[in-house]
Amino acid sequence: MVNAVSDSLAALYQSLKQFNADVRKDRRLAVPPADSVTVHSAQCGSRLTLDARIEGNRIREIGYRVRACALGQATTAIVARRAPGLDAAALRRVGAQLQAILAGCATQCEWPEMEMFTLIKSVPSRHGSAMLPFHALEQLFDRASVLQPDGLRLSVPRRDIEGARNS
């Protein structure tokens, strides 16, 4: 059992390193036409600037500048790969699934890469960092919905995003 946990942690460590490499180099979008928000997790100091071009309530393009711990880097890398083409509802659903995984209430996610975070439930101080891209997307969709009143709103409950706040 101990070996299985150790092997899983080793696999997680390697996965995180690969995802982290994806976002090491900043990829920024011009603002406008994109919009940009900066969020950070007060508990661990992780910081993310997320740029997104949203059209018709769908993410068309994502940019980022990540200065976060390994978890925030990894979730940003996954979001950057997966989010283009998705709408607020789809991203809200995945954000809630990740939150449930971090809380230890679920083990599955429609983005299977997120399932590696089941091992992180015992490290609550990092959960805020992992949720940063979803918190940023929430704000970006909020802003976009002001301009596009028919748009759906992404709403990951703020109370559950430990320490995350607008900077």
Binding site: L16, R24, Q43, R47, R67, A70, S125
Partner: protein
């Protein structure tokens, strides 16, 4: 055509080797009177900072670990002994303590970091460290006279995510050196060594070292030397009266000597520049991971301890950053663009006890692969300490 002014700030290993490397790189322009390289330092001495940890064990003395800065610089380097009091990155100007104002075309910021034990209540009064000469001497006096009790070793990380503490391997090195030192003194059996590592945001999980492969190798190394170790001790405060260290995790441990890697921050002028976004007013400058340019200021480069990169704050980082910066300044001057990329490479020879050493290297993608400590590794480290280092500072190797 006006002369291009390139200014390097900081006379430590990063600034010294970079000033020399810039002269080598830009020699045609310098000979033609089209470029000038200046180094500004507030200290006429250059210190081999890694030797401070040897001072704590009585193995290095002040005049062995320093040289006059001018003696390490190529003659083409314009050395200015002055204090930079203000960086105006927007206007490309420096305000100096002498009252002078310097405009630059290109700037390299290599101002290091400052140990700040006062940032943890009680640590200044009751703790010791080896990251500066005088504190290292104070620690030596204690280590050379303690007869029994507990030596508590701890590490404090910056609060800024993914920014490591000064010289990542030093706490482990000094723990092993301490074990040897106390055995030589014949008091090891009466002194408990307790190595601790904090729960920090940078880590994926609680461990004994920042990188997983080394962290996994440490327990057997420590066990073979009867060194106790403990994960998850993040120093919150120290009670100097009772000599008790209290952790953020809620634990309290008594000590006779507290050897703590202290909090660190950037120098005052960098803090005051207003450019840093680092947590806890630590002042690390936002640095492009590839080009090493200060973000938003393409004519300014950052290196060494002052960066916000996830890379060890150590001379082994400067050694690999310096050529990238020199190439990029030359690229900007000659073809109008940066031409080199930093891959996060760091190398060193870890001191594993008083006689053994372990060569190590890593980069953004690859961790240190621990190898057995050997006598030949120890000889390599001695050679570096006693001679090779000065050639590195001169930009010769």
């Amino acid at each position: 055509m006006s002369i291009q002014d390139i200014i390097v700030v900081g006379g430590g290993i990063g600034g010294t080797m970079t000033a020399n490397n810039l002269v080598a790189k830009l020699y045609p322009e310098i000979r033609a009177g089209k470029a000038r390289v200046s180094l500004i330092s507030n200290n006429p001495w250059h210190y081999y900072k890694p030797a401070f940890m040897y001072v704590a064990f009585g193995m290095f003395y002040k005049n062995e670990l320093r040289r006059p800065l001018h003696s390490l610089l190529r003659p083409e380097v314009n050395l200015l002994l002055d204090e930079v009091e203000g960086f105006d990155f927007k206007a490309s100007r420096l305000r100096l303590g002498s009252g002078n104002d310097h405009r630059y075309d290109y700037l390299v910021v290599s101002t290091g970091c400052i140990p700040s034990p006062e940032r943890i209540p009680g640590l200044q009064e009751a703790g010791d460290h080896f990251y500066q000469h005088d504190p290292a001497m104070q620690l030596y006096r204690k280590l050379s006279t303690i007869e029994s009790g507990r030596i508590f070793i701890g590490v404090t990380f910056p609060k800024t995510a993914n920014v490591p503490h000064q010289c990542g391997i030093a706490p482990m090195e000094t723990t092993l050196m301490l074990d040897d030192f106390l055995r030589r003194r014949g008091v090891r059996e009466k002194i408990e060594i307790l190595y601790t590592y904090p729960t920090v945001a940078q880590l994926l999980r609680n461990c004994l070292f920042l990188q997983r492969p080394v962290g996994e190798a440490l327990p057997s190394v420590f066990a073979s030397k009867d060194i106790r170790y403990q994960r998850g001790f993040t120093l919150a405060r120290v009670d100097p009266e009772t000599k008790v260290a209290h952790s953020e995790e809620g634990e309290s441990v008594e000590f006779d000597i507290l050897m703590q890697t202290p909090p660190i921050r950037a120098v005052d002028a960098v803090l005051a520049s207003g450019v840093s976004q680092a947590a806890n007013d630590e002042g690390w400058l936002p640095t492009d991971r590839d080009t090493l340019q200060l973000e938003g200021f393409p004519n300014t480069f950052v290196m060494g301890d002052t960066v916000d990169l996830p890379i060890s704050k150590a001379g082994g980082s400067c050694h690999n950053q310096s050529p990238v910066i020199c190439d990029n300044i030359a690229g900007l001057m000659r073809v109008g663009d940066t031409v080199a990329t930093y891959d996060g490479k760091v190398q060193a020879i870890a001191q594993m006890g008083l006689e053994a050493g372990m060569p190590l290297w890593y980069d953004y993608d690859s961790d240190v692969i621990p190898t057995p400590a050997t006598k030949i590794g120890g000889l390599m480290r001695k050679a570096f300490n006693r001679g090779v280092y000065w050639s590195v500072a001169r930009g010769l190797i």
